[in-house]
Symmetry: D3
Subunit: 142 residues, 6 copies
């Protein structure tokens, strides 16, 4: 059984602001990330999958399928976009790194079984590096 | 004579769109960077200065002065900001990495002599890493 | 449930030398790290915590609290310090990366519950990168 | 209990080509990695071990033993080599990152108990970074 | 006047072996790089150009043209290739990093004027990172 | 003509403190770097040389000679050492990055002609990365 991790990049902008909080609470909660016109990051996405090595090909996952899925479901909709304004999921949800990781997992998970047509590989974890210093992970084993 | 380079980071969003071009020309010229709601980067700024080593202190530049100047003139006004909407210089100027480097050099240059109170150090070059793959430099020696 | 990792840096010096070993045994055990006047590193610290995403804020941890705790308990006492001479815990304990990770975990753990005032987040693991090639981890799941 | 990870590098060339597949299937399966004369990478190897901290030395693993074992069993036989032509294990096995990780684990595992002469440390996982974007892990806990 | 640097990656294999030297001289000169079946690297290429900022677009170089030229002349012919066997220029020339940089400069230079259709930008320097530790540069100003 | 840069690493400790300054002036000038027991860094050294490509070997510098010279003159005397206490040059000279670069250049320069036995390569510049954010360069062209 092998864990394979692939790393992708996308640039996006966002603003952290919750409709459930007052202006003052927003500023206190999110600090500079609440500035009114937003800011941006070069996000790094790591997708980790688990599966058995195929005896013939020596591969644990068909990377062409994984790359196409990530491209269609994540990079296309998010790269060079404004998360708050371009992505429907963030109309009412604050685009924190935590929520972004959840949205990426949902997008990949919804088409996973159809894309790989079999029990393997399993989507194990999503990691978002918002910056080099702030990393969020969603995982089956948490 | 020594060259000293200090590296700083700031996160900002921008949109590349020129008022002198048609919608179609903008899309062709800037590609994904022209998407309507903007995107963002974790910019890296390198400021390179030149000066003699001080015989007593062994330093070529008083880093407290340099850091304060960069903080007041660059990081404060640009970090977690939208370059198009928050920075007056980019009201009519497209915030490309080239123009951003020029703006940073102008901001530091305007207060340089007053801040360092003497002929040294000389501000030699400004480098902006928009991403790891796209780097712009303005230098006295170009 | 989300795992959030934050990364910090500090520069410190140390010497690996055990009072329980002879001079010769110390040299054999620690090699260059036993040189008499010590040496230093730019340590990287990763603190990983686990908690549920808050529905309103979209955050799994209040980063202001975590950053303040790390600053007060780790960066203040260790940054630009000599681990052997400045840190009481290493008077009789060799400041290996393993022992340093344990000391950092103890320092954060002692004030964790008081600082976060609730069951979440849980302090999950401490990772110390002594160099890029030598990494030590203490974790609840080990 | 501590997890210690050490990182090593080696440069090697390989070609992905399976004798069980037709020319066309090979090209489809492996893409550019199937080009006839091979290509190469600067591989990064991470070896993670687990063990208790020794009370006297403060170390969880004798790094001299680990480094010697990795040098003799991995770096010597693989560094600056052609994986297909120089390494017997890849005569009939495709040198994918997955199979390379398995071969490294086998090589270290075969001599592990003899080298460390005791129950600790345990060899926990092998990670191969084929490139920065493609990472394979074999682990006891998978 | 602006210097713009763009960074590209390609994986290739090579063997350092000169027909003008004996077997023994080859081994002494090139060490492990002379092993008979070759090895490989993840090469990084930096192309630095110089030009004036365009007043309207704010750009110093049309990156679409540069990226296409590099893709056609360098990445296509070299990525995932064996430099000795796949690249005609290295039939009788040893594919050292120095010679590789010269070949890349020649390839870009031959089509530069035709591609950019004007005096700007000027191709200023080529840098090849063979590994992180070994970097070769060819420059107009050397 | 080629510029070749090689990168080396060493870990050392130091304290910035000038005998020509009062205690208070030292604290103001050097800040945390003046703490009494010192601290340390993982220094990166880049040595850049210039020379013609040899037509036969395709090399601009005999790396075995350069590596041996750096090992004997820099890494041996400085790695895992305390710059203030172990290095005679810093008995009365503050081991700032600026002075460290000058000391490294002096050490390499003193034996350069003897080591390379010919007019090429020329030692062009020394760069010291004290941290990722603070870089000092001494160069023939400054």
């Amino acid at each position: 059984m092998v864990r394979l991790t692939r790393r992708y990049r996308f640039a996006a902008s966002h603003r952290l602001h919750s409709n459930h909080l007052s202006e003052r609470e927003n500023r206190e909660m999110y600090g500079k990330c609440n500035y009114p016109y937003g800011h941006g990051h070069d996000y790094v996405l790591e997708v980790a999958v688990r599966g058995p090595r195929d005896a013939e090909s020596g591969l644990a996952v068909d990377q062409r399928i994984l790359d196409r899925l990530v491209s269609e479901e994540v990079l296309g909709p998010l790269d060079h976009k404004n998360l708050n304004l371009d992505v429907p999921a963030f109309q009412d949800v604050v685009p924190t790194a935590e929520n972004l990781a959840a949205e990426v997992r949902r997008r990949l998970g919804d088409r996973w079984r159809e894309a790989f047509a079999g029990p393997w590989p399993v989507l194990e974890s999503i990691r978002i590096f918002e910056t080099k210093r702030n990393i969020v992970e969603l995982s089956n084993t948490l």
